[in-house]
């Protein structure tokens, strides 16, 4: 299909890979000719989701994170998934300013930023199994 494209990358849950993930997603998105603001929004959302996998999902341990980017027509879909501890109460975790790590200067704004910068954010999680953040954004709205 001409109007679709797909990319999956798997990387270690190391903080230095947050930059890799957001730049890869931004590069994938360029085929839709996005504005600088749209690229910045996508990069911030990806960075938030990957940081969550590293700090909360894997609690600093090194395991794998999977990022799948799909383009369909003018919409980009990004799924970011870990096999970490999972989230018991997703609704609570998504509340602005809610954090379990205030001691580490975490703001609790991660999901708020994802929701502000993407059109749709959905979280599926199972305690002990892992978490997947599904996001989408229409480019050129």
């Amino acid at each position: 299909m001409e109007n679709s494209n797909e990319m999956t990358i798997i990387f270690d849950s190391r903080p230095e890979n947050e930059g890799l993930a957001r730049v890869a997603a931004a590069a994938f998105c360029t085929q839709l000719n996005p504005t600088l603001e749209e690229v910045a929004d996508l990069k911030t959302a990806v960075s938030e989701a990957v940081t969550n996998c590293i700090i909360h999902g894997y609690r600093g341990e090194v395991h794998k994170i999977r990022m799948k980017c799909v383009r369909k027509e003018r919409t980009i879909y990004v799924d970011i998934e870990d096999d970490g501890v999972g989230i018991a109460d997703v609704e609570k975790a998504m509340e602005p300013l809610f954090t379990t790590r205030a001691d580490q200067d975490r703001s609790g704004m991660g999901f708020t930023f994802m929701e502000a910068f993407m059109d749709e954010v959905k979280v599926t999680s199972q305690v002990g199994k892992g978490t997947c953040v599904h996001m989408s954004k229409k480019i050129g709205n």
């Binding site: 930059g19 957001r22 910045a40 990069k43 938030e48 940081t51 703001s107 704004m109 930023f113």
Partner: protein
């Protein structure tokens, strides 16, 4: 680019790097904690002049420094703030206690930002 820390009297100036993400914020938090343990600091000024990317880790850094300075009014300042960074500051609510310095605000209107 690495962050640059300078003190003028009781003011700590932190020139932020290009990307204020989770690893960069951790480094800045540790170094500013070390400086604040040695020197009495009353105000912190963040210089966003080089910064092109920030996420909620940077917001956490600002909130944490505000707490460390006793949440006094006027203790947190920012300069060279681009339109994109200002959007993050406002969305997260930290703009309520983070004073944007006047001159730089005008520069921003003249076309800084993304």
């Amino acid at each position: 680019m690495k962050p640059v820390f300078e003190t003028t009297g009781t003011c700590l100036n932190i020139k932020l790097p290009k990307e204020v993400d989770h690893p960069a914020s951790e480094l800045i938090r540790r170094e500013s904690d070390r400086i604040m343990g040695k020197i009495y600091i009353r105000t912190i000024c963040f210089d966003f002049g080089e910064t092109i990317f920030m996420d909620s880790s940077g917001i956490g850094l600002i909130m944490g420094r505000y707490r460390a300075l006793g949440m006094r009014s006027g203790c947190m300042k920012a300069c060279h703030v681009s339109g994109y960074i200002e959007k993050l500051l406002q969305l997260s609510g930290v703009s309520r206690f983070l004073e944007l310095e006047g001159e730089e605000k005008e520069m921003q209107l003249e076309g800084r930002g993304i």
